[in-house]
Symmetry: C2
Subunit: 218 residues, 2 copies
C-alpha cells in the first residue's frame, strides 16, 4: 500500500505529494529519475505531458500535483487536510491555485530557481528573469499575506493542503536576496516558521531529498 512517487528529486511539485504522505502518515517510496528522463518515452507513458511527479498506488496512477494531494487526503485516514466549511474549502483551493498561476512563474521559477536551484546544477543564472519576477512576486506575496490574515494557517487553526502546496513553493524564498527583501516584515515569515517546525516539512526539505536520492538517479 506504499505510494510510489516517480519524480526528479528536488521538484517542489513532488514535494507536495511527499508532504501530504507525511502529514497523513502514509508510507511512500521515491522512484527517482535523472533530469531529462522525464521527457523520455518510458515516462511519457506515465505522464503524457512529460512532467513530474506521477504517483502509483495499488494499481492507480495519477499525475498533477494538486490532484495527487487531494487524492492522498481523500484516500487515507489520518488528519483531514481539507476543511469542512465551504468558505474554507474555497480559500484552500484559492491559495492552491494562486501558487500554480502566480507564485510558480514569479517566485518559484524566477527567483527560487535562479537563486537556489541553478547554482546547485551549475546552470547559468538568468538575472533578467529574477528582475522580472520581483514585481509579480510582490503582488503574490501581498495577496497571500492578506488571505492568511491573523490565522495560524491558510484555512484557520489546522494545516490544510493550501499550506502544503504553499510551503513547497515558498520555503526557499526568504533565503534569497530578493525574497528576503520582498518578505521583510511579512506575516508569512511567521507562517513559514510554523511550517518549518513540522516534521513533514523537515523530512521533505529539498536538500535532504536531493542528497538522499541523487546518487540513485545519477
Amino acid at each position: 500500500m506504499t505510494i510510489v512517487i516517480h519524480t526528479i528529486p528536488g521538484s517542489p511539485f513532488a514535494r507536495m505529494a511527499l508532504l501530504a504522505c507525511e502529514e497523513k502518515g502514509v508510507a511512500w517510496r521515491m522512484q527517482p529519475m535523472a533530469p531529462g528522463q522525464h521527457k523520455q518515452p518510458e515516462h511519457l507513458t506515465r505522464h503524457p505531458f512529460g512532467r513530474v511527479p506521477v504517483i502509483e498506488h495499488d494499481g492507480y496512477w495519477l499525475y498533477e500535483a494538486q490532484a495527487i494531494v487531494r487524492y492522498i487526503d481523500a484516500a487515507f485516514d489520518g488528519p483531514a487536510l481539507t476543511p469542512n466549511d465551504p468558505k474554507q474549502i474555497g480559500r484552500m483551493s484559492q491559495v492552491m491555485n494562486i501558487m500554480d498561476w502566480y507564485a510558480m512563474p514569479s517566485l518559484t521559477s524566477g527567483i527560487g530557481f535562479n537563486r537556489v536551484v541553478a547554482p546547485i546544477f551549475g546552470i547559468p543564472v538568468n538575472e533578467e528573469a529574477v528582475q522580472a519576477a520581483i514585481e509579480p512576486g510582490r503582488v503574490c506575496l501581498k495577496a497571500l499575506e492578506q488571505l492568511l490574515g491573523a490565522q495560524a494557517y491558510f484555512t484557520g487553526d489546522n494545516v490544510s493542503l493550501a499550506d502544503l502546496v504553499a510551503v513547497a513553493h515558498l520555503d526557499m524564498i526568504p533565503g534569497t536576496p530578493e525574497g528576503a527583501q520582498l518578505m521583510a516584515g511579512s506575516s508569512l515569515l511567521g507562517w513559514l516558521e510554523r511550517m518549518a517546525a513540522r516534521p513533514s516539512v523537515q523530512r521533505t526539505a529539498m536538500m535532504r531529498i536531493m542528497a538522499e536520492y541523487a546518487p540513485a538517479a545519477a
Copy 2:
C-alpha cells in the same frame, strides 16, 4: 443569496462559475466589466492579480475559477458535482488541472482565442500562436480522451466539476479548422454532445452571454 459574478462577459473562466451555479440551481447575477476594467484599481481591490471572475456571495468574496466552482459545489444543495470515491476525486482534480496547465495555453489561448474570440473583437489573428498550439493541443486532447475512456463523463456516469471546467475550454474547439482536425474521430466529440445537451451549457454559451451582457458593459 444570489451569487454575483464580476467578469468580462465571454470569459471561459467565468463560464465555469456560471455552469456550476446552473447545475446546482443557484441564482446568479452577472456584474459585467468592459475589457480593460479588470486591470483598473476598483477591480484590483477584488482581485489583486487583475483577472476574472470574482464572485461575491453574502459577504464572501472569492477569486480563482477552480476555487469558485469548488465553493459553489460545497456551499449549496443540489446535485453533488464532486464524486465520493477518492480515485475519482483524483481524476476530477487531474482533469481540472490539465485544463489550467495544458489546455489553456494551447487549445484555449492558441486556437480558440485566435479563431473565435479575436475575430469577434477585431483583434489581429496570431497565426504563429495557432500553429504553435497544434502539437501541444494534440497531446492534451489525447490525454483527455484517455482519461475519459468509455465513460459518459470524466468521473463516470455523472457530471462533475471536471466536465464543467473542461467544457468551458473545449466547446469552441471543434468549430475551428485546427480543432476540427485535431478532434476528428475523438470520443471527446461524443462527450461534447452530451454536454451540449445540458441546459447549463446552453444557458451559459459564450455568444449568448456576450449578447446578453455586452450592451451593459459598453
